[in-house]
């Protein structure tokens, strides 16, 4: 187990503008750390800098406290899984797996033993003599994984290893990779553009956009309290709904498009300096109002349904709010038609507010449906 630290790391290709700017993060030993962001945001670049395949323009990279900026890849004690597997086509599965051991002068007997052990773990024992081109995508992926694991390197880097697999296999491999990482206590740095992978696999995730860190934290914390609207929309599916809201301090009121008014608790008042903020709310917190009692307050909104998706166990309803397109997610199957008018409730406790200029989070949701097994019924 080794830790990896980046201090103010920047990268520019051929003296052009920076594709990575000023990244500082410390990755703990044995941690599963996920780098996530949209295409082209520089995830692979960071991973390749950690691997030593790309030089670092500015800043310093430390592994176990030692600066390794100039160390060649082979001296960094890492293994790497490439997006397209990078298996040697002329070698069979077994030779592919032990390829690195051969270089490290591991004894033939031990090589064989370690190969068998890993092959067993990943269910590859039947394919050891096959060439990579005679394997399916999922099997190739597992060979690539085996090749990384067999090295017993303390740090493993993976660049979108599951992106070529179908949905079912991907879900299976997610948990498989996670289990192996736990078992072998590898420090894992995992790149993906898929927020589901990030949420389900990472101990901590780092969201990147245009080469800059947006937020680092536990998946749940990032989900509940996104640092800015970008993160809010990137993590979660469907994305968080956003709209501009006005704050009226004298009336202690927050209004969205003049139609919906939420009263602000007095405790919170001093944290608001600005008149307009960006409001965000997760689709699952947009509740349908069905009892007349709740209708008496004015924290609900009549909206016209524009699109309905029933996914079996949940229903996603889209509607227009001012200029924004919002989505609500309800459990179960709802019999809603396009064109219906539905009353939607918004709770002050479940909204996020962001500074509309800088995008910083001012207020996160305080009332999250956070179940704890012992107290399901309150």
């Amino acid at each position: 187990m080794k830790n990896v630290e980046l201090f103010n790391v920047s990268k520019s290709y051929e003296k052009q503008k920076e594709v990575i700017s000023d990244i500082s993060v410390s990755i703990e030993p044995g941690e599963f750390f996920v780098l996530v962001g949209p295409s082209g945001c520089g995830k692979s670049t960071i991973l390749r800098m950690i691997a030593g395949l790309e030089d670092i323009t500015k800043g310093s990279l430390r592994i176990d406290g030692n600066e390794v900026n100039l160390l060649p890849p082979s001296k960094r004690d890492i293994s790497m899984v490439f997006q397209n597997y990078a298996l040697y086509p002329h070698l069979n599965v077994e030779e592919n797996i032990v390829f690195g051991l051969d270089v490290k002068k591991v004894k033939k007997f031990e090589r064989k033993e370690r190969c068998m052990e890993v092959a067993e773990m990943l269910g590859l024992t039947d394919y050891l003599k096959r060439k990579p081109r005679h394997l399916s995508g999922g099997q190739r992926q597992r060979v690539a994984l085996a090749r990384a694991i067999v090295n017993q390197a303390p740090i493993c880097l993976m660049d979108e290893p599951l992106s070529n697999l179908d949905a079912k296999l991907r879900a299976h491999m997610r948990s498989e990779i996670r289990q192996i990482q736990r078992k072998l206590k590898i420090t894992m740095i995992y790149v993906t553009h898929d927020q589901v992978e990030a949420m389900t696999m990472g101990d901590r995730i780092m969201i990147l956009n245009e080469g800059k860190i947006q937020q680092v934290g536990k998946p749940i914390d990032v989900y509940n309290a996104p640092a800015n609207p970008f993160v809010a929309q990137f993590i979660g599916s469907p994305p968080m709904n956003l709209a501009t809201a006005n704050i009226n301090l004298s009336k202690q009121e927050l209004s969205i498009g003049g139609r919906l008014k939420l009263s602000i608790p007095s405790n919170d008042l001093q944290s608001y300096q600005e008149d307009t903020v960006t409001l965000g709310i997760r689709p699952e917190y947009l509740k349908i109002v069905n009892s007349i009692n709740t209708k008496s307050t004015n924290n609900y909104l009549d909206v016209k349904v524009e699109h309905v998706e029933v996914l079996g166990n949940e229903t996603i309803v889209s509607f227009q709010l001012d200029t924004y397109r919002w989505q609500a997610k309800w459990n179960g199957q709802w019999n809603v038609d396009v064109g219906d008018i539905v009353p939607i409730a918004i709770n002050y406790e479940s909204i996020c507010l962001f500074n509309s200029a800088s995008g910083h989070l001012i207020k996160g949701p305080t009332q999250v449906e956070n179940h704890i097994i012992h107290e399901v019924t309150v």
């Binding site: 691997a51 030593g52 395949l53 082979s74 790497m80 002329h90 070698l91 270089v103």
Partner: protein
Amino acid sequence: MRWVKKGLVYIILSIAALLIFFPILYAFLISFMTGGELLQGNIFPERFHLENYQKAFDRLPLAHYLLNSLIISLSVMLGQLVVSAMAAYAFVFIPFKGRTLLFFIFISTMMIPWEATMIPNFMTIQKLDWINTYQGLTVPFFAIAFGTFLLRQHFKTIPKELHEASEVAGLSKFRFFIKVVLPYCKTSLVTLGAYGFLTTWNMYLWPLLATNNDSVRTVQIGLKQLQTQEMATEWGVVMAGVIVVIIPTLILLFLGQKQLQKGLAQGALK
């Protein structure tokens, strides 16, 4: 309908094949004829006897020439493979300033006909005192732009991740070359090898210039000698010599046909 079409195609192909192959076939048949038979204009010999072959081997040190040819062709083949592969490796995997420019200069030497370089080459080997030696017949052909070009095109198709994976695994540059690059590009290597072997085997002018006795002469010169000796009389003997000389070429073609096609197509397409 389909069968008719197919049949027609086969008939046309067969005629074309026969036309192209006829000279060799005829030479093969003549090699069994006596001078008299040949003058009568026979196409098929009366009987297949090996007298002409015997004579060809008697009059010339044909076995010795064959051995020389074999040694020289194999050396040139190996030399070309080694030099071209290493040059191509440098052009693909070692980044340096002006790499592309250098490559184009390198490639442009393909436009200089080999005959034009003959005189400087000859003077060089003369100065080195390499007349009548194997090195004189082989070394000038080791570096060929075509081979470097062919291999570079194939090396470039190696995914960059394979290179990076080997770097992470800690492979040295040379071991990457031996253990990944060469096996990956086997077809092109076979193609280049066959090409090098055949062109060297069929070379005539240079071996003639660079030798003045029998010690390292090749079989092509032997053929010419046979022809001048036997002018007008015993064509059968000359043809027997020809057949002996083309046998290795044919064997090589049969063995490497598939790989050769693949490799050349690859070079042409990429």
